[in-house]
C-alpha cells in the first residue's frame, strides 16, 4: 500500500521590473504551469482572464498611475488616495496597484501595460525598481486555466514515486520572491512579504524519463519544513486508514489545507508529462 498526495494548482509569479519596465518577465510552464493565452488589451474581468496583476511601487514617482487605477484604492489596504489629480497620479513606496486589462495585454507569457503618458485613465508608468506579482484568480472562469479539469490543473501522485525537493532561486536580479500573504480572496487586508519556492520532483505518471514537477510557493525560510512535510506524507498512515489521498494544496478552493497553513503556501503549479 502506498500513500497518495493531491496537488491543486494556483499559479503564482513575481519579478522585478528591471529594464523592460512596461513588461513583466515572461510566464512559462516552469514558473507558472499553464501559461494564459495571448490577450490584446481590452476590457475584461479578472475572473474571465483567470489571473490578477499587481505592481508594488518601489520608487515614488509623479505622473505614474491612471485615475481609474487610483480610484480602485490600494489593492491591499483599500485606501483611496486623496488630493488633486496630480497627487493621485503620484505613487509612494510600497503602494500596491491592481492593474486593469483595459491597458494590459499578454504576448507569449509576458504582460505589457500601457504607460501613464499614453493612457491617463488605466495606464501605469512602471519604474525599474517596481515589482510585479501575477497570480491566479480564485473564482476564475477561464476554462483553460482552472475551470474545466485538464492536465496540469491538479494531480494526484504516488508518494512512492517522490524523488526529491530542490530550493528554487528567488533572489537574483531577475527574480524576486514576494507574494501577498493573508487578506481576503482579492488580497485586501493582506501584506506583501518575501516568499521562497521549492520544486518537488516525481517519477512521471506516464512513465517517461522526464519527471513530473510541482512548484510550490511558500513562506520564506520554509524549505526544510516542506521537506519534512513530504516525509510525513510518504511515511504517514493514510494508506492504512482508508482516508484516500492527502490533500496538500487546493488553493483555488479558497479553503486552506493544514499544509498550506503550516508552510504558508500561496502558490502551486505543475508540469505533468502528457499521456
Amino acid at each position: 500500500m502506498d500513500n497518495y498526495v493531491y496537488f491543486g494548482k494556483r499559479s503564482h509569479f513575481s519579478c522585478l521590473a528591471n529594464s523592460s519596465v512596461q513588461a513583466s518577465d515572461a510566464l512559462t510552464a516552469a514558473n507558472f504551469g499553464i501559461v494564459p493565452a495571448d490577450f490584446t488589451a481590452a476590457t475584461a474581468t479578472e475572473f474571465a482572464q483567470g489571473y490578477e496583476i499587481f505592481i508594488q511601487t518601489k520608487e515614488a514617482n509623479a505622473s505614474t498611475r491612471g485615475t481609474a487605477l487610483t480610484a480602485l484604492g490600494d489593492a491591499l489596504t483599500g485606501v483611496v488616495k486623496a488630493g488633486n489629480a496630480g497627487a493621485k497620479a503620484t505613487t509612494i513606496i510600497d503602494d500596491v496597484t491592481r492593474l486593469k486589462f483595459d491597458t494590459v495585454g499578454m504576448s507569449s507569457g509576458a504582460l505589457t501595460v500601457a504607460n501613464f503618458g499614453a493612457d491617463g485613465t488605466d495606464g501605469y508608468l512602471v519604474d525599474a525598481a517596481d515589482r510585479w506579482i501575477i497570480r491566479e484568480k480564485i473564482g476564475s472562469t477561464n476554462d483553460a486555466l482552472s475551470d474545466v479539469p485538464a492536465i496540469n490543473q491538479a494531480v494526484c501522485l504516488n508518494m512512492a514515486n517522490f524523488i526529491g525537493a530542490d530550493p528554487v532561486d528567488t533572489a537574483t536580479a531577475a527574480t524576486v520572491g514576494i507574494g501577498i500573504i493573508g487578506g481576503d480572496a482579492n488580497g485586501l487586508g493582506g501584506t506583501i512579504a518575501d516568499i521562497d519556492q521549492t520544486l518537488l520532483s516525481f517519477k512521471a505518471v506516464t512513465g517517461t524519463a522526464t519527471d513530473d514537477t510541482i512548484l510550490l510557493t511558500h513562506r520564506s525560510g520554509a524549505y526544510k519544513e516542506v521537506c519534512q512535510a513530504m516525509e510525513e506524507m510518504a511515511n504517514g498512515m493514510y494508506h492504512r486508514k482508508s482516508k484516500g489521498y492527502y490533500t496538500f494544496t487546493d488553493l483555488m478552493s479558497g479553503k486552506k489545507t493544514i499544509w498550506e497553513d503550516r508552510l504558508g503556501i500561496i502558490g502551486c503549479s505543475m508540469i505533468v508529462q502528457a499521456v
Partner: protein
C-alpha cells in the same frame, strides 16, 4: 511466499474478454498518478505491464461532472483497501456492467472505464 499485495482488476465494457486491454489486473502500487482529463473523465496511470520504461497504461474513468477529485480519492481508497483482489469494474458474461468503485462515493457515478496500453 505470500506477498500480501492488493491487486486491482478492471474490465473494459465487454463481457467477452478476449483482446488486449479489454481488462487489466495490476498491483495497487503500480498506480503512478491521476489527473482530471476533462469535466467528466479522470485519467489513472499504471506502470506498464510490458515492463517498458515509458508509455504506462492509462485507465480513463468516465464519471459525473466535476467529480474528478472524488474519483481520485475513491481510486486511492480502492488501492489501499485490504484486497487482496479488488474489482474496480467488471462485465460479467450475460450480466450488466458493474462498478464497485461507486460504492465508495455515491456522487461519482462512474459509467465507463476504458483501458489503453
Amino acid at each position: 511466499m505470500n506477498q500480501n499485495k492488493n491487486f486491482l482488476y478492471s474490465a473494459n465494457g465487454d463481457d467477452a474478454i478476449d483482446a488486449t486491454m479489454e481488462a487489466l489486473m495490476f498491483p495497487a502500487t503500480a498506480i503512478t498518478g491521476m489527473f482530471g482529463a476533462s469535466a467528466t473523465t479522470t485519467n489513472v496511470s499504471i506502470q506498464a505491464t510490458t515492463g517498458a520504461g515509458d508509455n504506462n497504461h492509462q485507465m480513463l474513468i468516465t464519471h459525473a461532472s466535476l467529480k474528478n477529485k472524488e474519483v481520485m480519492n475513491a481510486v486511492v481508497k480502492l488501492a489501499n483497501s485490504s484486497g487482496p483482489f479488488t474489482v474496480v469494474s467488471e462485465f460479467p458474461v450475460g450480466g450488466p456492467e458493474i462498478f464497485p468503485i461507486n460504492n465508495l462515493d455515491g456522487t461519482i457515478l462512474v459509467t465507463n472505464i476504458a483501458i489503453t496500453a
